[in-house]
């Protein structure tokens, strides 16, 4: 995932001040690592797909706010976000459908393994990862849409006022 933005080389100054950029450069790796930890250990410790996915979305939002939208769009474009969103939703239903082969919808069909291991609890970690990716991509996509289209609206309004 996105860890080390090479914004020092970018020519046009976008985003916030160098102080914010430096802090974000140090913090962003930790934020993504924490989000993935929350998702992957969701069946053993507090957390899960929803919380971890929102943390990852916050990481992308920080990138967008600090470095401007070009870098964030390079890391995850709006098209990629919607494709990940749809794919994860479909995979979620597909894994649930596979349960039909073993008896019932949403059946926890794989062997459960020993408790307190990372690979245990059957299908729950898989669901966690799918939901985490889905929440990440959809929340980031909506933030992108709102902020960029919002800017667009404000610029249009400014121009209309100038014309008047």
């Amino acid at each position: 995932m996105a860890t080390k933005p090479d914004l020092a080389s970018s020519q046009q100054p976008t985003g916030m001040t160098p102080i914010v950029k430096t802090v974000v450069r140090f913090a962003i790796g930790i934020i993504f690592m924490f989000g993935w930890y929350i998702i992957i250990y969701g069946h053993l410790t507090p957390g899960g797909g929803f919380a971890g996915g929102t943390i990852l979305a916050c990481g992308y939002v920080i990138l967008t706010l600090a470095f401007g939208k070009e870098l964030a769009l390079r890391k995850m474009s709006d098209m990629a976000a919607s494709i990940i969103d749809n794919t994860c939703a479909l995979l979620f239903v597909t894994v649930a459908m596979i349960g039909f082969a073993f008896g019932a919808f949403f059946l926890n069909f794989p062997p459960h393994g020993t408790p307190f291991n990372l690979v245990s609890a059957g299908v729950i970690p898989l669901y966690n990862i799918l939901i985490g990716l889905k929440v990440t991509s959809s929340l980031f996509a909506i933030f992108l849409a709102l902020s960029i289209f919002g800017r667009f609206v404000s610029k249009l309004v400014d121009e209309a006022e100038e014309e008047e």
């Binding site: 929350i38 969701g42 069946h43 053993l44 410790t45 507090p46 957390g47 899960g48 929803f50 919380a51 929102t54 943390i55 979305a57 916050c58 939002v61 706010l65 939208k69 769009l73 474009s77 709006d78 098209m79 969103d85 939703a89 979620f92 239903v93 649930a96 949403f106 926890n108 459960h112 393994g113 408790p115 307190f116 245990s120 609890a121 059957g122 299908v123 729950i124 669901y127 966690n128 939901i131 889905k134 929440v135 959809s138 929340l139 996509a141 909506i142 933030f143 992108l144 849409a145 709102l146 902020s147 960029i148 289209f149 919002g150 667009f152 609206v153 404000s154 610029k155 249009l156 309004v157």
Partner: protein
């Protein structure tokens, strides 16, 4: 003991919400709303619900960012109150009645600290053996009640779809070339298409 802390926290929340409702400046209003969210997150932590505390604090940050970035930066003018007497008076009367009846109804709920746990006791006892997940909340969300999670995924999918449809660029008034450059996230083909429109 925990009850005292929670009452103090709730009074803090109510004060924060009064500030959020009544202040003129929209930015302070949004930030006060964030304060209420942070206090709710602390209350969840005290009520032994760490899963929700994590989710609440992160979601509340995103709410703040979305509200400020998408709306406040556009228009921050305080709206002068055209005092709508009918709406205010009728809603105040309604809320007085609501609170009286709520006070009566609350007496019949199970006492704080002694919940009814007919189904949940079963989840607590058999959750670890049946699903193998140490986090019982995760086993309820993704195994016992996975239908709810499917519904949630559908709801968030539909809401994102709705927002995209509402904000879409196609089907609106024709853009000039300068506008296309300003948006910046159009693909090459879309820009070419727009240019074609303009040439027509």
């Amino acid at each position: 003991m925990i009850e005292t802390y929670l009452i103090a926290l709730l009074i803090f929340m109510i004060v924060g919400s009064i500030i959020a409702i009544e202040t003129k400046n929209l930015l302070s209003s949004v930030i006060s709303c964030g304060i209420v969210g942070a206090a709710v997150s602390i209350a969840f932590l005290m009520l032994a619900a760490p899963d929700i505390a994590i989710t609440q604090v992160v979601v509340e940050i995103l709410v703040l960012v979305i509200l400020i970035r998408a709306t406040i930066v556009i228009d921050n003018t305080a709206i002068e109150a055209h005092w709508d007497t009918f709406a205010v008076v009728s809603s105040l009367i309604f809320f007085g009645l609501f609170l009286v009846f709520a006070f009566l109804a609350v007496q019949d709920l199970p006492r704080f600290g002694h919940p009814l746990m007919r189904v949940s006791q079963q989840y607590l006892e058999t959750g670890l053996q049946k699903t193998g997940a140490a986090n019982i909340v995760a086993s309820v969300v993704l195994d016992f009640r996975a239908y709810d999670t499917l519904g949630e995924a559908t709801v968030i999918f539909v809401s994102i779809l709705g927002a995209f449809v509402i904000l879409r660029r196609r089907g609106r008034k024709r853009r000039t070339e300068a506008d296309v450059e300003k948006v910046g996230i159009l693909s090459e083909e879309e820009i070419r298409e727009h240019n074609g429109d303009i040439r027509e």
